[in-house]
Symmetry: C2
């Protein structure tokens, strides 16, 4: 782009984000996305990796500045951002900006919630911070995807760091100079390897992005200097991660169209590229009763990247089961369900599922978009049935209904909260923009007696 | 390499590092390197960026687990590692492993000191942790340099994260399985852009590597899983940062020759590639009195990378003045000194220095090694004098004498400690391997009344 650099365009956008009047669709999308994020964090309250990370953070953490979602416990903002963002991603049930494969709320809400609590921000300021952070990470994603991702970077982490820092700048009210330094501090902390996607560090990467972005905003506020043109500088982000071809188009409608409106909220707790396959299998199982013993072959045709990301025939763990189109398809066909309890209650080594996965073939078709899938079942008697999906459930074209989102939230939140508290919390999320502060949210887990206490601190 | 992967070779080396009998030269080199690191941290006690970062860390930090060098103040180990490693690099006076351009003690001693204090480790365990951490980061550096650095990565930060984690594993006594996970947790946090070298984030990068490595070791200890073969995994470090050509040679003498013995301790507080130029200029100024008014031209011939790293003709700030061969040469010729006070007391905009820099020409010569330089002065009367340097002062071939290192330490430490305390601390560093714990070191700044108190906490 000519004129201002991308770095400066983002700085101007972030500074304007503090007072921007948001359009109604953006407010609604953001409130739903935050509810979805909160539900995921509440649902992971007993997750092993969340508890391990929390034990470490509790032994380190200082001033009680922000709460840990679902627990009557406060940590400093950097550690709170780490734990909450990690937790919200732990079940693979959060959300996705499909054009960039970024979990849009992930690091951003982790940082924004911690800093909003700490600064006692209004609901509107919190929502604006989230909108701004999502915009920054996803615009950068549009500039760098797919090369950045294909080279092995966990894009939700590397660019989530920028989103988290941007949200922090809105909440701390940093001016343009300090915001530029905050982006520099974010860029030099940008990290996260895709080698971690099959293990607990997948979620840690997003937690770390939240904490790094929070630290970036705090250091910039304290007067710590960095490189304000971090994207374009020599040996800056673009130099190191790859130069985008065309920045003008990506930035043309910045501030006029909000990418949070393009987020998919996941209906199934697994990799988003698997969702159209599940939709197709659920539709097939709906059309006629399914008996694995009658099947000769099941052909699953998808975009080539889907097989790269989720092409494992036989997952070896519950976590990798969430990244196998074959396991998800077997689950959807046999259980006629692919929600939290379906995935949680299923043994990936179940012999029926294993045998069914053996009958499956994955076929890549570059003519398909990642949002599309085509599933064909050939029976032993020669008969076939097929189902094509163009847009998966949860996508902007087929968004979760309010009832679907409420049911998802309820299933997750009930792991940490009483049912009536979960329902009230959901309602509060959907009117967040008008709330004077976040007490209505955090009060559900920080008031004595309403949520489980923190587990005992037990540093080894 | 065939057989074990590099990841596994490093894990085995780290686990053995806990009880390894160190050869005398390694003990001496490490004790000197630690003294040098400590002096640099003490000398930066009033540095603006150190104070800004400390203000943030103090507002966040929790349990008083480890001290801040030079202050009667304790933070949690992650924040203490951040601040101390940042401080030790702030003056550009620390050390360098020239073949990889890694500051070997930087992140490693930052993490090791914090965890050694917290775990009440013996002096020997602390020294072993430092030796192990330096070995891990520098061996990785030998595998990845120069491509990794040339692509824009601040190698002291990206690989310092591994060194810090390795030191942490030694101090926490992690077994091979947990050590593998710690390296994975380090790798996915590996970050740091060279765009930061001209600003305060240069030192922040090293501080962040120390804190990330510390966190990696703590999380691994707490049972948090990662990718143990982080170097060789698909989308792991080598996949993302570049595959080394030959791993066998680099690892052949692992555990038999310790790279800490190849560290240069800086005699001048500026970029290490500048040091041979300063040596040459000091030698010329020693040979005959130097009058800037008589000079026609000064030709400085160096390795090509030296001009890339330090080729700015006229620095615009005190910090960038530490990365200009022309400014350093002007300083050495006119002041006959290039130590801490010479750099600190000099205005980079001084007209005499500016005029002298205008007379200077930098010439690259690929036949020279980075450790070499050749300086020729042509006078207005036609006469010329020249000086060549093969190995700079402070290099393994021309190490600082004990007296030189003690004098450097004294100048730095006296900024934070009384003179007699500084002398005792230096002596204690040089017998560290035999000390039962680190109280003899940390007692110099944590006993009430012996060091300045922490400045008031003042979060904005």
């Amino acid at each position: 782009m000519t004129g201002p650099t991308v770095s400066r365009a983002l700085v101007a956008f972030i500074c304007a984000g503090r007072t921007r009047d948001l359009p109604p669709d953006t407010i609604q999308s953001t409130q739903r996305a935050i509810a979805n994020w909160l539900g995921c964090a509440l649902g992971a309250v007993d997750d092993d990796s969340v508890q391990a990370a929390l034990r470490v953070a509790e032994a380190l953490a200082g001033s009680p500045q922000a709460s840990i979602v679902g627990r009557n416990r406060h940590l400093d903002v950097v550690n709170a951002a780490l734990i909450n963002a990690l937790a919200a991603n732990a079940l693979d049930y959060d959300d996705m900006h499909v054009p960039t494969l970024i979990h849009p709320t992930g690091a951003v809400v982790g940082a924004a919630l911690a800093l909003a609590e700490h600064t006692r921000a209004s609901g509107a300021r919190f929502v604006r911070a989230v909108v701004t952070g999502i915009e920054v990470e996803c615009r950068l994603g549009l500039l760098l995807f797919p090369q950045h991702y294909d080279r092995g970077w966990h894009i939700s982490a590397t660019l989530g760091t920028f989103g988290a820092a941007a949200a922090g700048c809105v909440l701390l009210g940093l001016d343009a100079v300090r915001t530029g330094h905050a982006l520099g501090l974010a860029g030099t902390q940008s990290s996260g390897l895709r080698a971690m996607l099959p293990n607990a560090c997948k979620s840690f990467n997003i937690g770390k992005a939240a904490s790094a972005g929070t630290l970036a905003a705090l250091l910039a506020q304290a007067g710590f200097d960095s490189e304000p043109d971090v994207l374009e500088a020599k040996f800056g982000l673009f130099d190191v991660f790859g130069w985008p071809e065309d920045t003008t188009t990506v930035l043309a409608d910045l501030g006029r169209h909000d990418l949070v409106n393009e987020a998919s909220l996941k209906p199934y707790p697994c990799g988003v590229v698997i969702h159209p396959v599940i939709d197709a299998c659920l539709a097939l199982a709906e059309r006629e009763s399914f008996d694995p013993a009658t099947v000769r072959r099941i052909t699953i045709t998808v975009h080539p990247r889907t097989l790269v990301l989720a092409g494992r025939q036989h997952p070896e763990s519950a976590l990798t089961g969430r990244f196998s189109i074959f396991h998800a398809a077997a689950l959807a066909l046999t259980r006629r369900a692919a929600g939290l309890s379906a995935f949680d209650d299923t043994d990936v080594h179940d012999p029926v599922l294993h045998a069914l996965r053996e009958c499956m073939v994955g076929v890549e078709d570059p003519a398909l978009a990642p949002r599309q899938a085509h599933v064909t079942i050939e029976y032993l008697d020669g008969r076939t049935i097929s189902q094509a999906i163009d847009h998966p459930s949860g996508s902007p074209q087929r968004p979760l209904s309010d009832a679907q989102l409420a049911a998802k939230f309820d299933e997750l939140a009930s792991r940490a909260l009483a049912p009536d508290a979960a329902a009230r919390l959901y309602d509060d999320c959907l009117r967040l923009y008008r709330l004077p502060d976040l007490d209505a949210l955090t009060g559900h887990w920080t008031r004595p007696g309403t949520a489980r206490a923190a587990h005992p601190v037990n540093p080894q």
